[in-house]
């Protein structure tokens, strides 16, 4: 947070020039409209067109309202995507506005599709779900003993031979399963849960699992994921840990005090503890304090796969929460260099463009934007990247 005071009025901060081409374009339109005589016929035509538009709108609205009960996908249909590597291609639209895309070699079975619930099973591969909030149906996706329950959100589920990965882009989901810590976890936007499936997990991997946890959860790819297992391992731990375990972020922050997160970041060594400290700072509304634990993760645990996610989160904190894009640039670069998970790498590359553009480094922003466009020609962040650094 900075202490800068904005001028009153703000007008002096805004761009005062308009490109000549824009002014001429608008004037050209004004002139052509003023020259065009308004005829009674055209007014009538306009009224008829407006009436037709109204009728079409009403029709669309009526159809949308009744689509929930329709079924475009027959029950128990197995959907197999045959697509180019690394590119989501096979799309499936449901009557209630839900949209599903399945990745290469993915197989998603529709087990049940009724008026109030949809039950799907992801047999293998990656599937991306976009469920419209407020819908009438409850969605449930099962994959290797892990169940994801959702009402309205956007998320992906990926099943591999050894794990099930759930990533939430928007909204909130519940993940249930015998392998999930405490049997159930709530995942918010931007969080990832990777559950190692016990059946296929090699014995050596189970032995390598952190002693704090009884469930074979391998990694929480996003630092904001709460870690109940950490709390269970520290029954006599300071109260901030207990509060964090209970997701009472405000109480955890108050227990630590204003400098507590920074001090604890120097003292604790476990990557899980450092992530928890970052969670406490971010979720209690003190995002700037998350810089310290995240920096420690990147510096002290660089070989850990989760360090890349910490670097990515650090970049987001600098860019979005603190508003210092120049500081965000090295963080995003480091995250990309550390082999960030593919699902976050696109976002990191797009944010790198934004950070470079906002920090005034147009030349490097162009380079980063070109790299984004070549890697993700149909990327979801393409519009934002083009806005920050238009194509040459």
């Amino acid at each position: 947070m900075n202490n800068s005071t904005l001028p009153n009025p703000l007008l002096e901060l805004f761009e005062k020039c308009e490109p000549e081409t824009r002014l001429r374009r608008v004037w050209g339109k004004i002139e052509s409209r003023r020259r065009r005589p308004v005829r009674v016929g055209s007014v009538r035509l306009g009224l008829v067109a407006a009436l037709a538009c109204c009728l079409v709108s009403i029709g669309v609205w009526w159809l949308r309202g009744h689509e929930a009960s329709r079924s475009r996908v027959p029950e128990t249909t197995a959907i197999e995507g045959v697509i180019e590597p690394g590119k989501l291609a096979r799309a499936l639209d449901f009557g209630d506005g839900a949209h599903i895309t399945v990745g290469p070699d993915a197989r998603l079975d529709v087990l049940e599709q009724a008026a109030h619930n949809v039950n799907l099973a992801l047999r293998r591969g990656l599937a991306q779900f976009d469920i419209r909030p407020g819908g009438a149906r409850r969605w449930q996706i099962e994959s290797s003993g892990v169940t994801v329950e959702v009402v309205g959100t956007q998320f992906s589920v990926e099943r591999s031979t050894t794990s099930v990965r759930v990533e939430v882009q928007r909204g909130r989901v519940l993940v249930r399963g015998a392998q999930v810590p405490d049997g159930v976890q709530a995942l918010d936007a931007g969080r990832v849960l990777i559950v190692e499936t016990a059946r296929e997990l090699p014995a050596s991997s189970q032995e390598r699992a952190e002693p704090a946890t009884s469930a074979p959860v391998r990694a929480t790819a996003d630092p904001v994921l709460p870690s109940p297992r950490v709390a269970s391992a520290h029954e006599n731990a300071p109260s901030w840990r207990q509060a964090a375990a209970a997701e009472d972020w405000q109480r955890a922050w108050e227990s630590l005090g204003p400098e507590g997160v920074k001090q604890q970041s120097q003292e604790v060594d476990s990557i899980a503890d450092l992530f928890t400290l970052a969670d406490v700072a971010r979720r209690s509304g003190h995002a700037a304090a998350a810089v310290s634990p995240l920096t420690q993760i990147v510096a002290r645990h660089a070989s850990d796969p989760r360090a890349a996610v910490a670097a990515f989160t650090l970049g987001r904190v600098w860019l979005d929460a603190i508003g210092k894009p120049a500081e965000a640039v090295p963080a995003f670069e480091q995250a990309l260099a550390m082999k960030l998970p593919a699902t976050l790498a696109e976002d990191a590359q797009a944010r790198l463009v934004e950070a470079l553009a906002k920090s005034g480094d147009a030349a490097r922003a162009r380079g980063a934007a070109d790299a984004y466009r070549s890697r993700y020609p149909n990327g979801t962040r393409r519009a934002a990247v083009d806005r920050w650094s238009p194509p040459r």
């Binding site: 005071t5 904005l6 001028p7 703000l10 003023r34 508003g323 210092k324």
Partner: protein
């Protein structure tokens, strides 16, 4: 063909040419330009456009958060203004009269956007943020504050946001804001106060000069 044939016919051919300075549009008041536009002077219309379009485009872009919509509104506002120019009682008030027309159209656009949003046909991601309108060379702190302000303004109802922006972003006086929003001074004061309470929780802005 002789040179004589190219000369203009009449007395000017034998009189030495005189150069007379012509007053540029910037030296003419709005009153004069409006009066000339009413007499069918197309040049005066363009001069009025050139004088007011930049500020109006900027204000509409900031209010609508969409440069394409802003262009459409400015275009509509000028077309309406030139067509209804005879109804302008005080030509000196051309700027505020024109801005009033534009603000009315902004309100209409935002209402339509609300309807489209309700029908699921409008994506908020299309909307630009205020920091895209900033001039180059402002400090990083001010940039951060504007980003923060943008987040707060997005949470406000359109009527409150427009009133607040006209007052604090565009610099209109309270009476002018009331006129532009076609509502009473008391209503405008209430809207601005409600918006201001939320804004000042997150962003520090210089106090308004006493009016």
């Amino acid at each position: 063909m002789s040179n004589r044939a190219l000369r203009p016919q009449g007395r000017a051919s034998s009189v030495p040419a005189r150069v007379r300075s012509v007053r540029g549009a910037e030296q003419l008041e709005d009153t004069t330009l409006v009066s000339r536009a009413l007499d069918g002077d197309h040049w005066a219309e363009e001069a009025l456009y050139r004088r007011h379009a930049v500020a109006l485009l900027g204000a509409c872009t900031r209010l609508l958060r969409d440069s394409t919509d802003a262009e459409d509104v400015v275009q509509d506002a000028f077309v309406d203004a030139f067509e209804q120019l005879r109804s302008l009682r005080d030509p000196a008030q051309f700027r505020s009269w024109l801005t009033g027309i534009a603000v009315h159209k902004v309100h209409r656009r935002l209402r339509r956007r609300k309807l489209l949003r309700a029908l699921g046909l409008w994506n908020d991601r299309r909307e630009d943020s205020l920091d895209n309108c900033l001039a180059t060379g402002i400090s990083a702190e001010q940039f951060a504050e504007i980003v923060c302000l943008d987040h707060v303004l997005r949470q406000l109802p359109d009527t409150e946001r427009i009133a607040w922006q006209l007052r604090y972003a565009e610099g209109f006086r309270l009476e002018e804001v009331a006129q532009l929003c076609s509502c009473s001074l008391a209503t405008v004061k209430r809207r601005i106060a409600q918006a201001d309470a939320l804004v000042r929780r997150s962003v520090a802005i210089e106090e308004a000069s006493r009016e």
